[in-house]
């Protein structure tokens, strides 16, 4: 006899499903019981959610962002002893080059680097001009101008950059970028053991590592993880343009005309740099933007793909805070935003390697009027986020400490 509640007899499959559910329910109860008595390390998470930004966030499973981790990373980011040195003349930190006032770019007014052209602690030139540290957590295409550090990378180290292979630095994420900054000859040229020893010797750090990672063990892996957490926390999403999109402020006629030009076929900026509906203001793609006809930079996109057609290809940089991040282009050839606009207006160089999106290359550029260039520049200035460059959470935590670099 069947119970009337059923529409048909219970089959083997139903019984199987029931048993699975019963098992899962029992298991969840047991595991909850275990968790309640678990005294494992559980630091307070740090959230970088921006509603309009992509859901994808580039945070590795073994380095979740925590408040303590980000704060530790902030100290290490500004600490000139990260290079492993303690002498004043040899101090170098991430902040030596990545200035908050310039959206974590070097800037043209940096006393150490003439015209924003970078070199490392030994005086060796960097392969490229600097890219700012803005919203890097949402970069899904790889870091550096050529994207060499990317999630698909399988090579440890880089012969071209003279960075040795060392596990766990897999050249896939920001952690490896930080490590490269410490050891690369054109950056800190550091000795990892010395760096770890110097950081260990500073009394304030062991408790900070314990708070961030559950024990006071200090290793290069943890140092890089902490700095990477801080770098991921550098979120810029409060420019005047963001406020305009939220309906909080109005743009003037010149700025609005600049926006329309930016997203028009006439100026055609948006195919590479994005639009209001691409709020990172970059496609993060690697393109040849018709700067040159001869390509002899061994660090262009070819270093990653090995494809000849990738000659002269570089990352499309974000336009967020673009007014603050001179010099421009991979080699820092332009010092003002106006020079960049004039290049796109009439200075394009034709080659077979130019990206097809650069459709006005044959006529040298987009040929806007001076007024239109003014408006375009006015619009680009609305992408400056002044709260980003003044946010105390991103600033030097110990400005009076002799080892901490502004």
């Amino acid at each position: 006899m069947q119970i009337q509640f059923f529409k048909r007899p219970i089959k083997k499959l139903d019984l199987f499903c029931f048993l699975i559910c019963f098992f899962l329910l029992t298991y969840s109860c047991i595991s909850r019981k275990n968790k309640s008595s678990d005294k494992t390390f559980s630091p307070e998470p740090y959230s970088i959610n921006v509603p309009l930004f992509p859901d994808y966030v580039n945070i590795p499973e073994d380095n979740p962002m925590t408040k303590a981790g980000v704060e530790l990373g902030r100290y290490l980011f500004y600490d000139g002893r990260l290079s492993g040195n303690t002498e004043k003349s040899m101090l170098m930190s991430c902040a030596s080059c990545h200035k908050q006032t310039h959206a974590f770019e070097a800037g043209l007014d940096n006393p150490l680097y003439k015209d924003g052209h970078m070199h490392g602690i030994t005086g060796k030139q960097t392969p490229h001009s600097m890219l700012p540290l803005i919203n890097l957590a949402w970069n899904s295409e790889g870091y550096l101008w050529n994207g060499m550090i990317n999630m698909l990378n399988v090579k440890l180290g880089s012969e071209a950059y003279k960075v040795p292979a060392q596990k766990p630095f897999d050249f896939q994420n920001i952690e490896s970028l930080v490590w490269m900054g410490i050891v690369a000859p054109h950056e800190m040229n550091g000795n990892v053991d010395r760096t770890v020893a110097v950081i260990k010797s500073e009394k304030m750090y062991p408790p900070m590592f314990a708070k961030a990672f559950g024990s006071d063990t200090i290793s290069i892996d943890r140092i890089c993880k902490a700095v990477a957490q801080f770098v991921r926390s550098l979120v810029s999403a409060n420019s005047r343009f963001d406020q305009y999109m939220e309906g909080k402020v109005k743009l003037n006629d010149a700025e609005l005309n600049g926006l329309n030009l930016f997203t028009s076929e006439k100026a055609d900026c948006f195919h590479c740099h994005g639009a209001p509906a691409i709020p990172l203001w970059t496609t993060n793609r690697f393109l040849n933007n018709a700067k040159d006809t001869i390509f002899n930079d061994k660090y262009d996109r070819r270093i990653v793909t090995g494809v000849e057609d990738d000659k002269g290809k570089y990352r499309v940089p974000t336009l967020r805070n673009i007014a603050l991040t001179a010099p421009y282009m991979h080699d820092g050839r332009f010092t003002t935003l106006r020079q960049v606009l004039e290049f796109y207006n009439g200075g394009l160089q034709k080659s077979d390697y130019t990206d097809p999106l650069m459709k006005y290359t044959n006529r040298g550029g987009v040929h806007l009027s001076e007024k239109e260039l003014d408006d375009l520049e006015a619009f680009l200035n609305t992408l400056t986020d002044s709260s980003f460059i003044t946010n105390p959470a991103f600033s030097n935590p110990m400005p009076r400490n002799k080892f901490f670099i502004q």
């Binding site: 529409k7 219970i10 029931f18 028009s264 290359t361």
Partner: protein, 252 residues
């Protein structure tokens, strides 16, 4: 008693789902060719009917609202998370779209899909994530997303390699007062012996002949265009061509 109640509730839950129509899996493959040969990118080897020698560089587009029709004209919409699919020839995973069909009907005579996204759905910020969000279409041209970005290089009249972008999306009327939905529906007949296999995944391969975008109805001379996004007449010509660019290749 309590256990019995849980068992009864659970079994009823299972049986409830068992009386729903069968959920059939369908995989659509997207194939790209030039005049019946697989499309080759980055080589200057193709010539359209206007005599333009060209090289394919990038092809990205949206397909949406796939529907099957019976002989009597009864429709059954295929389902996915948002019923819109992004195709990029450079992204192999995008060349396959997994859908499902909730229907007990097994015999269908044709399949249709929309090239692009219907105007009512094609709104800015619909996609948050790359690469789909990188198809954004300018607000002043109606917003939403490109239906297609077909980028190529061609030999222009002066013998120089020039860039050409066939970018399609919402159009704008001449007086700039209204936006025009340029997306279009493509209907393809299914083989007469086609019967859906409800137990296994069914595969339907749709082929785009890229060359047809320049030839099918209107002969396109690339020398005559710069950008076409704000040129409704040009976009219309391309869309007329594009509606003839698709064929049903195989059904399994």
């Amino acid at each position: 008693m309590k256990k019995l109640f849980v068992l009864i509730t659970f079994a009823n839950f299972i049986s409830f789902f068992n009386v729903l129509p069968a959920q059939t899996k369908i995989q659509i493959n997207f194939i790209h060719c030039v005049n019946d040969s697989p499309a080759i990118f980055n080589k200057l080897i193709y010539v359209n009917n206007a005599g333009n020698k060209y090289m394919l560089k990038d092809l990205q587009y949206f397909i949406s609202d796939v529907t099957l029709y019976t002989k009597e004209g009864i429709s059954a919409a295929l389902q996915s998370s948002d019923n819109i699919h992004y195709v990029d020839v450079a992204v192999p995973s995008s060349l396959i779209w997994h859908l499902s069909l909730k229907s007990d009907v097994e015999k269908f005579n044709s399949i249709s899909f929309r090239f692009g996204i219907i105007k009512e759905k094609n709104k800015s910020f619909l996609f948050k994530n790359p690469p789909a969000n990188l198809m954004a279409w300018p607000e002043m041209l109606g917003g939403g997303y490109h239906y297609m970005k077909l980028n190529l290089k061609y030999m222009d009249t002066s013998g120089q390699l020039s860039n050409f972008n066939c970018h399609l999306g919402l159009g704008i009327t001449e007086n700039k007062s209204n936006f025009i939905d340029n997306s279009f529906v493509v209907n393809l007949a299914l083989p007469s012996n086609f019967i859906l296999d409800q137990a296994n995944e069914n595969t339907i391969s749709i082929q785009m002949n890229i060359d047809q975008w320049f030839n099918a109805v209107n002969k396109i001379d690339m020398n005559k265009y710069d950008g076409i996004m704000d040129n409704e007449q040009a976009m219309k010509q391309f869309c007329e061509n594009g509606s003839k660019a698709f064929v049903l290749k195989t059904v399994q």
